[in-house]
Amino acid sequence: MQSAQISFENIRKDFPILERTIRENKTLVYLDNASTTQKPNQVIDAINDYYRNHNANIHRAVYALAEEATELYEKTRDKIATFINVSNREEIIFVRGTTEAINLVAYSWGRAHLKEGDIIVTTEYEHHSNIVPWQLLTQEKHAKLEYIGMDDDGELILDDLDKYLATGKVKLVTFSLMSNVLGTISDTEKIISKCKEAGVLTLIDGAQAVPHMKVDVEKLGCDFFAFSGHKMLGPTGIGALWVRKSVLNTMTPFHGGGDMIREVHKYETTWNDLPYKFEAGTPNIADVVGLGAAIDYLLKIGMDNIRQHEVELTSYAMEKLSEVKGLHIYGTKDISKRGGVISFNFADVHPHDVAQIIDEEGIAIRSGHHCAQVLMDRLNVAATSRASFYIYNTKEEIDKLINSLNKVARIFKL
């Protein structure tokens, strides 16, 4: 399907929230998609339909309703397998989101495998969710956490990776496929081939990439892959972790409780099959169903079309923003190496002030450290403003953003 056949204007009609007004009758311009995305009717209706017509607990009871709920829940697992291209559905674990996915790996894999003196390697542009779990783990195990540095274009310095791999002590390299602040797309192929050569496992945080481009986990060749539903039109509180079976089989359970067991005796328990060993308790069934609807929606538009739409928007926004006097954009200018996330600072105006003034025009952008304080330190700033795009955004909205920045300039006498 070619981009020309997709009407991105019609797509807006699927998102009821885009019809509401903000502040004094301003149309909502939602540009905080790296944080969370809006939800189409198809997703809202799927959740609604689940509660109205199919609600029951899964995997247990034998009555018809329970069977329907189980089927709906498990269908999403198959949709995910197709969506990110992995062949074994039992390698996919439902979690609350990327944060929980990474914590699960740090807990269940890390506790079983990490020893004193071992090294975990992350990067300077990670979200706190791909830093803090590793700090907790390495502190507990007296292991070390090291960082792949970032150059001034916002790209990773892979010589750092070589240096750490050469020690022979690295057990895991963990990195995001796309930075949530700079939009940089990591050179996954290079990183993973280096790690494979060294016999080191890799974890990819796909939270920012999965919603915006075709991701083929099998081709990537990583060992762990995590993403969140709410950044890809799905509900909050649901995401998935994929783990290569040979690795998953060596991991201990994350949470103990119902559904994750085979047999429970007074003093010992045997575990359920994969993936249920890692899904204790009644899961977030309704939102799993909602995530399934989000995947259907995205696949109907086509991931390549979505990427193409965002490349066009990002190129346009980069061009327009760079014409604004006093505005500095962080990260690479090479659109092929970045997603639809643009972080900037506007002269000496603090990002909170920028965000508040343009909020008056109905424009929602993010300001702050974006849960990436290590990166803020590397950029030597306290905060940035960040505009991030998705399928329902338009060039007209970017024009509104640019116009609103003129208001900031006027108020702050730039």
Binding site: D348, H352, D353, Q356, E360, H369, A383, I411, F412
Partner: protein, 146 residues
């Protein structure tokens, strides 16, 4: 309160040219705090002579609201007795800048420096006074400021 009202001349001026900005090398007390969600970060240094704040300076990174309120707050506190400084309230700071109706999400920007000041005073009093009840009260007030 609309944004146009918030970003008036005084706020913009203070954010560009904060007063009492800097460090006091021979301070009697210093305190640092930050807002975890936005990353605003403020340090306050104080010189205390004869139970009076004889000098006070702040430094750090913050938005226009944060910088303006820090300027105003340090100006209010300068030269005041410890008792008077203890009684500085949030309305004293917000009122000075016409920010009484500031929306909840920005209150933490406006009051970060007041929180730091209260904590600084608490840490000074904790070291120099025996009246632990007084110190506890101040600590509680600082913790519940916003």
């Amino acid at each position: 309160m609309s944004n146009a009202d918030i970003y008036h001349e005084m706020i913009i001026d203070y954010s560009r040219n904060p007063i009492n900005y800097g460090k006091i090398e021979d301070h009697d007390v210093t305190f640092h705090d930050s807002n975890p969600l936005c990353g605003d970060s403020i340090d306050i240094d104080m010189k205390i002579d004869d139970d009076k704040v004889s000098d006070i300076k702040f430094h750090g990174k913050g938005c226009a609201i944060c910088m303006a309120c820090s300027s105003v707050l340090t100006d209010i506190a300068k030269g005041k007795s410890i008792d008077e400084v203890k009684n500085i309230s949030k309305t004293d700071v917000l009122g000075e800048l016409g920010l009484e109706n500031l929306q909840a999400v920005r209150i933490k920007c406006a009051l970060l420096s007041l929180k730091v000041l209260k904590y600084a005073l608490y840490s000074y009093l904790g070291k120099h006074l025996d009246d632990s009840q007084d110190v506890d009260k101040l600590k509680e007030e600082a913790a519940n400021l916003y």
